[in-house]
Symmetry: C2
Subunit: 189 residues, 2 copies
DNA sequence: CGTCTATTTGAATGTACTCAAAAGCGGTGG
DNA sequence: CCACCGCTTTTGAGTACATTCAAATAGACG
C-alpha cells in the first residue's frame, strides 16, 4: 500500500525502517470521485497530496471563466499549490480529479511535525520544489517557442498513456489551444 | 554599498547587526561589461548573483541556435540556474549581461558556510525559490492563454522602465515573438 | 566616418481561432 | 433496454494573429 510513495521518497532521500514507519503513520489515505474539487481558488491549500492511483489536474480559472490547466498529476506525482501551502495563504490555483483517485496526503501541521521526526524530508521537498521550478522554466520556453503540434508531442512523451485516459479538452487546455484545433492536429497523423 | 542587498534580504528575514556583518563579509563584488557571459550552458553554475546595478538575462539556446530569454534580472534581482547551482550539475540556461553590471555574488561553498553562520538565510532562499516557482507557473498560463500584445503589456508592468534600457529583440525573445512583430505592436499604440 | 547590427515597413504565407453545424458518447430515467 | 439529454469531438468555412522574406532606414560603436 505504501510502496509507491516510499519508492518516490527514495528517489531523493534514503530512509531507514524506523523513518519509513514514521512517514507511514503520518500519512492519511482517501479516495475521491472524478470531478471532485480538492482545492478552490482563494481557499488555503491545507494539504499536500500524493497520487497513488488516478489523476488530478491543477488549473487556473481566468476572469472570463475559462480554465487553464497548468499540470496533470497522475500516479506518483505530488499535487499542491506551493505558494498557498507554504504560507498558508489563499490559493491561485484549483485542484480537481480527472478520474476516481486514491490519494495520500499530509496537512501543513502534520508535515511540520514530520519534519521534526524525519529531517531528511526537508531535503526531499526542497528538491521537489527545485525540480518543479526547473520543469516550469522549461515549459515557458517551450510554450513561447514551439508550435502547438510540437508541444503536443512533448506532452505525449512527458505523460505516456495519459492521452488515452483523459478528455481532449483537458489536454487542449494544458497545451493552450482549443479542443477543436487539437482534434485537427490529431487527424493529421 | 550593501544597502540594496540588505534591504532585499529584509523582505523575508530579519537580520541583526552581527548577522548583517557576516553576510557583508561573505559577499563578493564585481563589475562586468555589457554582453559578458557569466554562465554558459553545460557549465556548472558556481555562483548565485545579486544585481546591484545594471541588468542580466537568463536564456536558453535551442538546437537551431535561436536564443530564448526566460527572465531579465535588473537591480535587486537574484540570478542563478537553480538546478545547476543546487546540485552543482551542468546548466541548461546561460546568463549574460545586457548592460555594464555591478554584481554581488556567493559561491556554492561560501553560501553553505554562510548558512551555518546565519541559518535564517535558508529560509530566505527557500522563499525566493517558492516565489520564483509561483511566478513561472503564472507565466506559463499567461504564455498559453494571452496574445502577444497582452503579454507585452504584462512585461511593461512587471519590469517598469526596462523597455527603455534594453534592445527590442531581447524583449521579443522574452515574449516569444519576432522583433519584427514587436515593432508592429508598438507602432499600433 | 564607415561598418555592423537592430529596427521598420510592405507583401505574402502559415498557424491557430471563431462560428456554426453535425456526429459521437455516456449517463439517466421511463 | 432503449430513448433522450447534455456534453465532447469532428468537420467546414471564413478570419485574425503572427511569421517569413526582402528591402530600406536608423543607431551604435570603434
Amino acid at each position: 500500500m505504501f510502496e509507491f510513495i516510499l519508492e518516490n521518497l527514495a528517489l531523493h532521500v534514503t530512509l531507514d525502517e524506523a523513518e519509513q514507519r514514521l512517514v507511514e503513520s503520518a500519512l492519511q489515505l482517501t479516495t475521491i470521485k472524478k470531478n471532485k474539487v480538492l482545492l478552490s481558488p482563494g481557499e488555503i491549500c491545507r494539504n499536500i497530496y500524493f497520487v497513488n492511483k488516478g489523476c488530478l489536474r491543477m488549473y487556473h480559472t481566468d476572469k472570463q471563466g475559462a480554465e487553464h490547466n497548468i499540470s496533470f498529476c497522475p500516479e506518483n506525482w505530488w499535487a499542491v499549490d506551493i505558494a498557498s501551502f507554504s504560507n498558508q495563504s489563499p490559493s491561485f490555483y484549483a485542484i480537481a480529479a480527472l478520474e476516481d483517485t486514491e490519494l495520500f496526503y499530509l496537512s501543513y501541521s502534520a508535515l511540520e511535525k514530520l519534519y521534526l521526526q524525519v529531517p531528511k524530508l526537508e531535503r526531499f521537498f526542497r528538491i521537489l520544489t527545485q525540480n518543479g521550478f526547473n520543469l516550469y522554466q522549461r515549459r515557458i520556453t517551450s510554450a513561447l517557442s514551439k508550435t502547438a503540434e510540437e508541444r503536443y508531442l512533448v506532452f505525449r512523451k512527458q505523460y505516456p498513456g495519459l492521452e488515452q485516459r483523459i478528455a481532449q479538452k483537458q489536454i487542449a487546455s494544458y497545451l493552450g489551444i482549443t479542443p477543436i484545433f487539437l482534434s485537427r492536429l490529431r487527424k493529421k497523423r
